[in-house]
Subunit: 242 residues, 2 copies
DNA sequence: GAAAACGGTGCCAAATTTTGGCACCTTTGA
DNA sequence: TCAAAGGTGCCAAAATTTGGCACCGTTTTC
């Protein structure tokens, strides 16, 4: 029997019986007394609160208050948490990131609404870079509020997107691209997209995009976006865009 | 690395990259090609839908709609999430902080009250400064992975900690201190601790700490750490440490 | 048509983790 | 005082996981 399953069995038994002894548990799950003790210890590490009464007539009791993670989070809340943790990881060298990730994975799983999946698909394409100390933030403009819904659709359903773009020198152009990823270099947001007419990746500062719209019925394949680890190979490009 | 964690890492990577090859995955999670293949197989058994394109130019793709299982959030995971959100709020340039806070508040309600008190107490000890543009990051070393569990225990249970420290001039010393706060000046982390033998606060760069261990049974009282608002009065000190 | 870049399988020895047994400790109720 | 309870440290045996290796079948590229 797998460890995981045995742990589950122990928790179930504790829930059911209220009070149990280690030997009974060992008997029930078919493991040795020593192993059950180890399991109990592991469960405590995981956060289960298990009271133990030592001495004759004693036993184990699972605190029913422990491990209640029945939090019903709203979709925007989960979304916000996801971004927090992604940003945290991107900052680098932060302890506990793995734990936070693991926790979020569980939260997600507890919220099986379609809307969450939509947002998640959107977030899957999110790359968050290091804060650039030399960044010039002065010309960061507001983002078009229509962007988010359009790109949500784009990332979830892989539909192409059309928009107007104004580059660093103020030149305007019309684009039709395949959105492949989002790149966040706080506080700037970029869209990384494959441009079929140029047959190459291009990236667009989100606050320079206007009049975005979904191109109905025109879908695309995902490509390998050339990111290396968490380091942003577009650093030079983004600087150029400033 | 535990199997379960590797599986999570793989799912995360698949989500992030959209399209990946097995060799890339193996590289990323630090396992062999064969092991990753086995993991993929296991994930498929668990219900994840992973499409594979064989042949040159092919790769793996995770169906974002694919199944998710039940949730069980552990206290350390909530702990990690709290830190993430606190860090993000301090960074100041990402939206959605309020939402993330609201979400976490809901999660907290599900935990036993004493745990929440501990978590809050820890958060109170977390000070996150602004990124200094002039920061010299060149000598930031890797943190000892043993630090995390030791300091988690220290902050949650108020146990003293023993470790070796190497200061800016390379001098080594042994320390036994009471961890009072964590100071984050991205990307540097400092431990702010009361040193009983010196009868004063000392701070330690996390990446210069080695061989950390919990001093079993020796606990301490919290003290008032002399921070003012979110500004770090140790700025000079930390610079001295660079 | 050959080579290269993909995913995938079977097998086995080595590495790693888990397990069970044992001795022994402390606490508690009868 | 004794028996029944939880708990720890240690170690060798058992089980599982891992990493090579050889080899297959596709598909794209040259």
């Amino acid at each position: 029997m797998k460890v995981r399953h045995r742990h589950d069995a122990i928790v179930r038994s504790l829930r059911r019986n209220g009070m149990t002894t280690i030997d009974d548990l060992a008997d029930e799950v078919g493991a040795s007394r020593r192993t059950v003790l180890r399991d109990i210890s592991a469960l405590r590490d995981e956060g289960f609160v298990i009271h133990s009464d030592v001495g004759r007539g004693g036993g184990l009791q699972l605190d029913p208050q422990s491990m209640q993670t029945t939090a019903r989070l709203s979709v925007p809340e989960v979304f916000a948490l996801l971004i927090s943790v992604a940003a945290m990881r991107a900052a680098g060298n932060l302890p506990f990131s793995d734990l936070a990730d693991a926790g979020l994975a569980k939260i997600e799983k507890g919220l099986p609404s379609d809307k969450v999946k939509d947002l998640r698909a959107f977030l899957d394409c999110l790359h968050i870079g290091q804060l650039s100390p030399l960044q010039d933030l002065s010309d960061m403009g507001p983002m078009d509020p229509a962007l988010l819904p359009v790109f949500e659709t784009a990332f979830l359903q892989r539909t192409c997107v059309r928009f107007d773009y104004r580059d660093a020198k103020g030149r305007r152009s019309k684009r039709e691209v395949e959105p492949q990823a989002m790149l966040i270099l706080p506080p700037l947001w970029y869209l990384v997209a494959w441009d079929p007419t140029r047959d190459d990746f291009r990236h667009f500062r989100m606050d320079r995009i206007s009049r975005p719209e979904t191109i109905e019925g025109q879908t695309f394949r995902r490509r390998h976006v050339p990111f290396e680890d968490d380091v942003c190979p577009y650093r030079e490009l983004s600087r150029k865009h400033h």
